[in-house]
């Protein structure tokens, strides 16, 4: 499915379940998303992470609603499953779509200004560098006699400075590679939204509407 439409669908459904209260629909969404992720052959580690990390906020919400809330245990379960529905819906997008494809479709089909599409893409490609950079900043600070912790403003100041510097260099590099804001470009890979994409988008969205309408528990 077209990554842009997929993102739109995921966001629309996530928004909807924030305002509706159906335990069963939440569970259906989790199961269907989970099934979809399984078919796409995602690594086991990522899968276990998806199940493990949301446990903390989910249990937190569940316990506080169950023990201190006024709406009872049913609502607590809704909150619990809602967290997982968010996470798995999000994962159907993040784990199975390429960010490059998303940028291409946003530029070509959704008429997003190309500077956003490629700016975001370039920033995304810098992400692995940010982790390395933080470690280097910490070690280098130690060598200058300063211990920076994750709450130290200097660490963030330095990381932000690095990113400003990077973004300046990147902007210069993109310009020297012929990129000019708001100018026409050709496209080597044309990404079109196909009839099939629309079929899935509308079909799945309608399904969720139907489920939410008929299943109120």
């Amino acid at each position: 499915m077209n990554p842009g439409l997929k993102l739109l669908l995921v966001m629309a459904i996530a928004l909807e379940i924030s305002f509706t209260q159906s335990l069963i629909v939440n569970i259906i969404l989790v199961v269907v998303s989970f099934g979809y992720i399984l078919i796409q052959r995602v690594s086991l580690k990522a899968l276990l992470g998806l199940i493990f990390w949301p446990l903390f906020p989910a249990i937190g919400l569940f316990v506080s609603q169950w023990l201190y809330g006024s709406a009872g245990i049913h609502f607590a379960w809704i909150l619990f499953t809602r967290i997982y529905a968010y996470v798995f819906l999000g994962a159907t997008f993040t784990l199975t779509s390429s960010i490059t494809d998303l940028a291409l479709t946003l530029e070509q089909d959704f008429r997003l200004p190309s500077k956003f599409a490629y700016g975001v893409l370039a920033a995304f490609n810098l992400m692995p560098k940010i982790n390395e950079e933080v470690k280097i900043i910490k070690t280098s600070a130690l060598m200058r006699g300063e211990a920076l912790h994750f709450w130290s403003p200097k660490l963030y100041f330095k990381a932000i400075l690095s990113s400003i510097q990077w973004s300046q260099n990147l902007a210069e590099a993109m310009t020297s590679h012929g990129f000019v804001e708001d100018q026409e470009r050709t496209h080597y890979r044309v990404i079109k939204i196909t009839g099939l994409d629309w079929f899935w988008f509308i079909g799945l969205f309608a399904c969720v509407q139907g489920l939410l309408f008929f299943i109120r528990y």
Partner: protein, 476 residues
């Protein structure tokens, strides 16, 4: 014909009245290979950024005078046409790509230039083949070595096919083989493809017989002059005499006191073995030079020594396993001078940076007068309020060296400390390092491709090759 003519060009940085370029009036001739040289920080990059059309857009204030491509003033060229006239290769290989893979970057470039998608495959294949990097086509750019990244940068330029190519110290951090290869490719572009090449470099290796014109930017007058062949020859000869270490270097004896002991050591990041040592020692109060081709793992060894990277086996500092020493005390004892000077900076202005070192140092080896004298000798005095990130690469390096010397750690690891420094500054820095060793008994381990001028500093030489590190008498 695309002569690049610079007409009475004068530029000063915003909020400063020091002229970086003063009434520069020269013409880089069409279809010539022009080399622009001069000390670091003298303004070579600034001029190139203007020629490439990046300044004034990215710097804020314009220069006086003009730049013309043939008869066309650069300001008359629409912004979306600039890259059809000129392309630029940057000094830092890491920050010139927007996309993830080589092929994506190249299509990105061609899309920007409104090339018909049907023709892209041919253009890309040709550019990759020309640069000899067909195999890198689908690789992720972040995983390439510096030399490979610069080859990709050249491939992008070949694909763009502009008449003028400017290069800003493009070989500053790549190995000698890549450097020679890239210079040959540039010559080929000039001769067979009619390109005008303008290249700034302070390292004159491999250019003799290749370049057509030799320009020198005088750091005092901030003017550029075209040298005749005799003066150019003089520069080359001068440079050559300073490019080798002719002295035989001693092999350390067994009874010399060691400060770092490496045992049963294996370094294999990403599961590829870089270095395997049964036993190796670095000696106390000595300067050890590590040589070896780029990308072979020298910097990675430093990362292991500073606990930035995991390794197998043991490293002992002063008889104690470094994993058992807490991070802060260890970092104060075994300190790395990062290859990228910016990594070392924690504050904003030059003064704040120096004050931080003065405040956190563990000993008082250098007086404030010493510090002032050091700044003076490296032309860094009077820059107290300047933002460190606005310094030139050479100036950043000088500041970094001074602030790490002030910390005066017992062991100082230096990763390409002379990168971006002109020869005169290098000699000054070598003097500082000798003082640190002779007066304060500092142990120094240096990775450097730049060998000239180091003979009075180096005590031992370790060669890194074939996943091994061995002490050698001769430096080749």
């Amino acid at each position: 014909m695309t002569d690049v003519s610079i007409n009475h060009f004068t530029y000063e940085y915003p909020k400063s009245n020091v002229k970086v370029l003063n009434d520069v009036d020269i013409t880089f001739k069409h279809n010539h290979f022009s080399l622009l040289t001069g000390p670091s920080g003298s303004g070579k990059s600034t001029l190139l950024y203007f020629i490439a059309g990046l300044y004034p857009h990215f710097i804020g204030n314009d220069a006086l005078g003009g730049i013309k491509f043939g008869d066309t003033d650069i300001n008359q060229i629409p912004r979306n046409q600039v890259s059809h006239s000129v392309a630029m290769m940057f000094q830092n290989p890491n920050q010139q790509f927007a996309m993830d893979t080589v092929i994506h970057e190249m299509t990105f470039v061609l899309e920007n230039m409104l090339v018909d998608p049907a023709k892209m495959d041919d253009i890309i294949n040709h550019a990759l083949a020309f640069c000899g990097i067909d195999k890198l086509r689908s690789r992720i750019i972040n995983t390439l070595s510096g030399g490979e990244k610069q080859r990709v940068a050249l491939a992008c330029i070949v694909a763009m096919d502009p008449p003028v190519i400017v290069l800003d110290e493009p070989f500053a951090s790549i190995d000698p083989d890549s450097r020679l290869d890239l210079i040959k490719k540039l010559k080929l572009l000039q001769q067979d493809h009619d390109k005008t090449i303008i290249l700034a470099d302070h390292d004159l290796n491999d250019y003799q017989g290749v370049i057509d014109e030799f320009y020198y930017l005088d750091p005092d007058s901030h003017r550029i002059s075209l040298l005749d062949s005799q003066s150019a020859q003089h520069f080359f000869d001068n440079f050559k005499t300073t490019q080798t270490i002719n002295k035989r270097i001693a092999i350390p004896t067994d009874d010399a006191p060691a400060i770092i002991n490496i045992n049963d050591f294996k370094l294999q990041p990403h599961h590829s073995l870089l270095l395997k040592l049964n036993q190796f020692k670095f000696y106390q109060g000595k300067t050890t030079l590590i040589t070896g081709a780029n990308g072979i793992g020298k910097s990675t060894l430093f990362n292991a020594l500073t606990k930035l990277l995991p390794y197998d086996g043991s490293i002992e500092y002063d008889g104690k396993n470094i994993q058992k020493i807490r991070p802060l005390p260890y970092a104060k004892n075994v300190t790395l001078l990062f290859q990228d000077a910016e990594n070392q900076f924690l504050n904003i202005t030059v003064k704040e940076e120096l004050d931080l070192s003065l405040q956190n140092r563990t000993n008082q080896a250098y007086s404030t007068d010493d510090v002032q004298a050091m700044l003076q000798k490296l032309n860094m005095a009077g820059r107290d309020e300047q933002v460190v990130y606005s310094l030139s690469e050479g100036q950043k390096k000088k500041l970094q060296i001074i602030e790490m010397l002030i910390m005066n750690p017992p062991v100082l690891l230096l990763d390409e400390p002379f990168k971006g420094l002109d020869y005169r500054s290098l000699e000054v820095v070598v003097g500082f390092l000798r003082r640190a060793k002779e007066s304060f008994n500092q142990t120094q381990i240096i990775i450097s491709h730049q060998l000239s001028g180091l003979d009075t500093l180096i005590d031992y030489h370790a060669n890194f090759a074939d996943q091994n590190l061995t002490y050698q008498e001769v430096i080749k």
